[in-house]
């Protein structure tokens, strides 16, 4: 059995939401899916999408047992696309100000660029999120009708739309809140890792269409692929919230922000993003990962070679996609 995986380099993510838009236009443009972003990008620290998803429970406890107390998310927690009064203002002349038909209260990216800490030592970064296609998917275990399965061929976790009865136990069980209920079809839906594309050798839309060139796609087991190197050899790509116990297959290269200033206005050694915060996202391993990244970057600054930096630079865009029979379209 193979496991398809993704590494996202947060030092290259500019929060442009091209991944979000690419996914939206391909998979969630139908009635009942308005609020769904199988892929989203959120500003961290911040409540994210859906709001306060990290506080919603789910996943496994320390004993490896399924947490049964996860909260069910609602449409309102996500925020949705709201039409504007174009017709009334522009062509009928019955309203004056162009605006949404009802005010938006919260949205998937409501806190875009909302920084933490005090200026000029404030900090924030962008975190793209999607289904982690976990090795131990709690959604799968929670489903009472066994509609969720993990494909043997590539480890992609899918919800069989024929079998799903909309019970939504999966929604409660997913600690990443990456399962969405379709209010029209009455079924739960989520990221499918673009398996139809994968089968054709084309990377998932979010990765293939990312102008930041930050998403590596490949098989974890492929020792010659960048994913294996980044996750297992360099150990700079880490799962998000490993403590949830689901063993995600999406990994992140942690962010390195520019130096802070001390009280006199000189550069300080105090990291811009508190290490404690990064540990809370990526575990203790983040310390070592940041040291490795810094060390290798300094090698390049000194004019030396660095295999790690070369992988992350990814001079050839296509080198990000290490999938069978890879082709561009």
């Amino acid at each position: 059995m193979g496991q398809v995986a993704m590494v996202m380099d947060l030092n290259k993510c500019i929060g442009c939401q091209t991944c979000t838009t690419a996914c939206k236009s391909l998979w969630t443009d139908e009635p009942g899916q308005e609020y769904m972003l199988w892929n989203n990008v959120e500003t961290k620290p911040g409540p994210g999408y859906p709001r306060y998803w990290e506080e919603g429970g789910g996943g496994y406890d320390a004993n490896g047992d399924l947490n049964r107390d996860g909260l069910m998310t609602t449409k309102e927690d996500h925020g949705e696309e709201i039409p504007l009064n174009h017709d009334e203002v522009y062509f009928k002349g019955v309203e004056v100000q162009l605006q949404q038909e009802r005010p938006m209260v919260k949205g998937s990216n409501w806190d875009e660029d909302t920084s933490s800490g005090d200026y000029p030592n404030n900090y924030h970064f962008y975190l793209p999120r999607m289904c982690n296609h976990c090795t131990k998917p709690s959604c799968l275990e929670a489903c009472p009708v066994r509609a969720i399965y993990k494909r043997e061929v590539d480890g992609v976790v899918l919800i069989d739309q024929d079998k799903c009865q909309g019970i939504r136990e999966c929604n409660k069980a997913c600690p990443y809140d990456k399962i969405y209920f379709n209010y029209v079809t009455g079924k739960s839906q989520k990221c499918i890792f673009c398996f139809p594309r994968l089968e054709e050798g084309v990377a998932p839309a979010c990765a293939r269409q990312c102008p930041g060139r930050l998403r590596f796609v490949g098989f974890l087991e492929d020792e010659n692929g960048p994913i294996h190197e980044l996750v297992y050899q360099w150990k700079v790509a880490l799962p998000l919230h490993p403590e949830y116990g689901t063993e995600p297959n999406v990994f992140y290269v942690p962010p390195m922000l520019p130096p802070t200033f001390d009280d006199s206005g000189e550069f300080s050694d105090e990291p811009r993003v508190p290490t404690e915060y990064l540990r809370s996202l990526f575990g203790q391993e983040v310390d070592e990962a940041l040291i490795t990244l810094q060390f290798e970057m300094e090698r390049k600054q000194e004019g030396k070679e660095s295999r790690l930096m070369d992988i992350l630079i990814a001079k050839e865009w296509k080198s990000l996609f290490n999938i069978p029979n890879v082709k561009i379209y």
């Binding site: 059995m1 193979g2 929060g15 442009c16 939401q17 091209t18 979000t20 838009t21 236009s25 696309e81 709201i82 039409p83 174009h86 522009y90 062509f91 004056v96 100000q97 162009l98 605006q99 949404q100 005010p103 938006m104 949205g107 875009e112 660029d113 909302t114 920084s115 200026y119 404030n122 061929v153 590539d154 899918l158 069989d160 024929d162 398996f195 139809p196 054709e200 293939r208 269409q209 102008p211 060139r213 098989f219 087991e221 492929d222 010659n224 962010p255 520019p258 130096p259 200033f261 206005g265 000189e266 970057m297 930096m309 630079i313 001079k315 865009w317 290490n322 069978p324 029979n325 379209y329």
Partner: protein, 920 residues
């Protein structure tokens, strides 16, 4: 357009090596064939079916975002379904490649083009302007009515009483742009230029180099060893190319973001410097000072490439010129150096040559060599020279520059900028030692009153470090494609030329800007500014628009009423004076709302055209994937219909040709012949013929038919082996030729010129760059900072419901939480931002990404989305503040030259305050 080759689903065989040589060597057991997947799940086929389509067209979005990203536009069931980047480009030299490009706006267009803001039919206003009450009419009726008015104004007031603004939806579509220019040449309408008009013109580059086209490809960033991102936020505004910065950082380049706000580019930089808003000149000059004091400057480069070794008289601080000597027919453009080899005065090579006659096309201007040929110019020292007035002490520009820089020590700059002196020194030293060093500059600099001084300071910094003109060095901003095919196409009658109006000055006289100055800065300053404005006209340096009646405005692909500074005031002054307003547009916006006629224009995927943008070395097709919606047509056709209607009405009314004169040559304008002139007597049948003419006659691009280009999507330009634009490329490479071939610059001294001994520059103490305190309006502590939006391009896509769902659904402004707390404002509150000249209302978005006493807002939001239809233009109280030195002329590279030397609109140099909005 071709049908998808995708007919059968390929086997998902992990074990087999791929055709492109990707080897997969698993240590784990081979992965099963997909067909082994058990059990068969029929629902998976539905997902597979969703990712299918009927056809693919290569196209892009003809906007001025500099992206020109190649897209595959997928059509399903007769409508555009989605788009995906075409993808694989090559690379320039050993930089990362250009793929895949694209952004969320590009991907959203498939939905936006079917949005409810779309204009589908010709509309005639039936209610008040701005009311949104329309009658649907036919193209015929609309064009004939517009033609009648056009003729009336032309006969009574002349062709200049009609303006035709062309905007960002238009100027980068080469064939549309050429079509509109052709119409302008035939008709003689005024075209307000929108380079300085939007406050983007690098006047500092014109002063220093004699031209403003400096940029290379975005891949050049990777070749830099120290890159200062200054006055911009490319992570938001250059989404397809931002990766080059972070890849360079990984490759060892020091990437330093210089910006008051902690933005998405600062986030990923090696270092972030946060100067107080508007204090950047002090920072740049302190860096210059550090490098001069360290004596780490590039002497050889300075001697050859700049005016720094030129001699200046100590008595009157003017350049030493031939006219200072008792020489018959002495030239006032011949300058001197002190040759250390012979310890004698020598003529500066290349100076004293006759200047090209006005109107000579850029690429035809012959420039002298500046090769030193054995001369070793002193850069430091003082000497006595025998002039016709007797002995005179002379020194060098370099010496004066040292003195000027000494007025900007890092400690002084720390006071002004808030950046620690040691950090300034550290960055200056890095910049001087890393070779090459680059400044990636944004247009925001030009939106400050003294933006030209900042730009001159940056060029000085680059000059003394020997970086301008080096691959990976110098200042990079956008370049322009040579118009060597556009002009021959557009100039139906070369003697008629084009009527181009400087927009800031046009608005000054037509939108009561003197009044605005009076309101904002008081009587005295308003009169003072006006005095220079008038004097510049009186001395013939800049044209006089005050006598030009403005009767009719046509707007093509521009939402001018959204961005003209002073906002509602502009609508109430200039715009409301117009008797007839015609808008050619794809989507509704405030300009169309206040128009009398609105004509539907085809959207990007419904037309043929092509793009030439300098950020990548590619030419990009715009191709038709589907038929235009409703009755919309491409711009070529729209102006053909107008020309046809004008001819028809002129024949019907038997209107005789009128006399006109644009460039000193008397010409006749025969309305009856407009259609024949526009179509070259019927030989140009469609926009495809325009495109083919341009493809056949543009330099630097591959010879190709439009259909071939459409089949390929994009094609690599010539001269793009390295990351800089060479002479063979379609872009200007003046800097490159000056530095590497020692071809003189287009300045008075034929050097990078830092010393401007023009009388007005003396008057304002701007002979050399210096820091000038920003204007502060007492009692208004908040400095407004603005920039291009992440989720829109200018005013385009800003009202897309999905993109709004990724924001706050309405215009928002960044406020520091401490400032908000003082005013009792919480996140999400509506606030009113105000100063002496106006106010507007929007949502407060609290973030410590901005400091106290700063407000940050993305510009481009359409006033239609605000209460009272009043956007930030309301508080731009500097709209009428026209910098006097930008009106100077009669001196080499100075003097009115559209797209080169004209005053910018000052959009950003003001303060304001805010309070919680009390209304509902």
């Amino acid at each position: 357009m071709y049908k998808s080759a995708k007919t059968t689903r390929r086997k998902f065989l992990l074990g087999s090596a791929s055709a492109i040589g990707l080897s997969l060597n698993y240590s784990k057991p081979a992965i099963a064939n997909l067909s082994d997947t058990k059990p068969y799940r029929s629902w998976e086929d539905l997902a597979r079916k969703k990712w299918t389509w009927d056809s693919i067209t290569h196209s892009t979005h003809g906007t001025n975002c500099t992206g020109q990203c190649a897209f595959n536009v997928y059509v399903k069931n007769g409508v555009v379904w989605r788009e995906e980047q075409q993808g694989e480009y090559g690379a320039s030299s050993d930089a990362p490649d250009y793929g895949p490009r694209g952004c969320q706006k590009g991907l959203r267009h498939s939905k936006y083009m079917y949005g409810k803001q779309r204009i589908l039919y010709p509309l005639k206003r039936v209610g008040e302007r701005g009311q949104g009450k329309w009658e649907r009419i036919s193209w015929d009726q609309a064009m004939l009515e517009v033609a009648d008015k056009f003729l009336d104004y032309n006969i009574e007031f002349g062709p200049e009483s009609v303006t035709c603004g062309l905007g960002t939806q238009m100027v980068m579509k080469r064939a549309s742009y050429a079509s509109l220019l052709r119409f302008a040449n035939i008709s003689g309408v005024q075209m307000p230029e929108a380079f300085a008009g939007v406050g983007d013109l690098f006047t500092g580059a014109q002063i220093t180099f004699g031209h403003v086209t400096l940029g290379n490809t975005m891949a050049e960033i990777y070749k830099s060893k120290c890159c200062l991102i200054w006055f911009c936020n490319p992570a938001v505004t250059r989404i397809p190319d931002a990766h080059f910065f972070w890849e360079a950082k990984y490759n060892g380049t020091e990437v330093i973001s210089i910006s008051p706000d902690f933005n998405a580019s600062a986030m990923h930089a090696s270092k972030w410097l946060n100067p107080k808003p508007g204090s950047d000149i002090a920072l740049a000059m302190a860096m210059v000072h550090t490098i001069l004091k360290d004596r780490s400057f590039d002497t050889e480069y300075i001697k050859e490439q700049s005016d720094l070794p030129f001699l200046v008289r100590a008595d009157n601080l003017k350049y030493l010129r031939e006219t200072d000597f008792d020489t018959p027919e002495a030239r006032d453009n011949l300058f001197y150096l002190w040759d250390e080899a012979t310890n004698a005065l020598v003529e500066a090579p290349g100076t004293g040559t006759p200047t090209a006659p006005p109107g000579t096309p850029e690429h035809l201007i012959k420039l002298p060599s500046i090769e030193l040929a054995g001369i070793d110019p002193a850069i430091e020292g003082e000497w006595t020279v025998e002039t016709k007035e007797g002995p005179v002490r002379v020194t060098t520009v370099f010496e004066l520059t040292k003195r000027r820089a000494a007025q900007h020590t890092p400690e002084m700059a720390q006071e002004i900028t808030g950046i620690h002196a040691d950090i300034i020194r550290q960055v200056a030293r890095k910049f001087a030692s890393a070779k090459p060093s680059m400044i990636y500059a944004g247009y925001r600099a030009s939106k400050y009153l003294h933006g030209d001084l900042l730009q001159r300071a940056l060029f000085l910094l680059l000059c003394i470090t020997g970086n301008t003109g080096k691959e990976g060095g110098g200042l990079t901003i956008t370049n322009l494609a040579k118009d060597d095919a556009v002009f021959p196409f557009a100039l139906s009658n070369p003697a008629a030329a084009f009527r181009v109006a400087t927009l800031s000055r046009w608005d000054y006289v037509h939108a009561d800007m003197k009044e605005l100055n009076r309101d904002a800065f008081g009587e005295e300053l308003a009169e003072e500014m006006d005095k220079y404005f008038q004097e510049s006209v009186d001395r013939g340096w800049f044209p006089d628009y005050s006598k030009v009646p403005w009767k009719m405005g046509m707007f093509s692909g521009t939402n001018a009423a959204a961005w003209r500074s002073s906002g509602k005031r502009w609508r109430e002054t200039a715009f409301s004076k117009l008797e007839t307003i015609v808008s050619f547009a794809t989507d509704m916006g405030i300009t169309s709302m206040y128009s009398d006629y609105v004509l539907p224009i085809a959207h990007h995927y419904e037309r043929h055209d092509f793009h030439l943008e300098p950020r990548t070395p590619y030419m990009q097709v715009i191709d038709k994937a589907v038929e235009p919606l409703g009755e919309s047509v491409d711009d070529w056709t729209a102006y053909k219909r107008l020309a046809e209607a004008i001819s028809k009405k002129a024949i019907e009314r038997d209107i005789q040709p009128i006399d006109d004169n644009v460039i000193g040559v008397p010409i006749k304008r025969d309305f009856k012949k407009f259609l024949d002139d526009y179509t070259k007597n019927g030989s140009i049948k469609s926009v495809k013929d325009v495109i083919q003419f341009l493809l056949d006659n543009s330099s630097g691009i591959q010879s190709v038919s439009y259909d071939e280009l459409a089949e390929k999507g994009f094609l690599r330009n010539k001269g793009s082996e390295t990351t800089v634009h060479s002479k063979e490329s379609p872009y200007y490479s003046d800097i490159w030729e000056s530095v590497h071939e020692k071809r003189g610059y287009k300045t008075l001294t034929h050097r990078q010129q830092f010393y401007i001994d023009h009388e007005w520059f003396f008057e304002f103490d701007e002979v050399l760059p210096r820091h000038i305190d920003a204007l502060v309006n007492e009692g208004y502590p908040m400095k407004m900072i603005m920039g291009h939006a992440r989720h829109g391009i200018h005013s385009m896509w800003r009202d897309d419901s999905f993109l709004l769902s990724l924001q706050r659904g309405e215009p928002d402004i960044y406020v520091n939480p401490k400032d908000a707390e003082k005013k009792g404002v919480v996140d999400g509150d509506l606030i009113q931002i105000f100063n002496k000249t106006g106010s507007f209302i929007c949502q407060a978005h609290l973030t410590s990404g901005v400091g106290q006493n700063m407000l940050y807002m993305y510009h481009g939001w359409d006033p239609m989305m605000f209460k009272n239809r009043q956007n930030f233009g309301a508080v731009v109280q500097t709209a009428g503040l026209i910098k006097p030195t930008s009106l100077a002329g009669g001196y080499g590279q100075l003097g009115w030259k559209p797209f080169a030397y004209e005053p910018n609109h000052t959009f950003h140099d003001y303060t304001c305050d805010f309070e919680k909005y009390q209304g509902v």
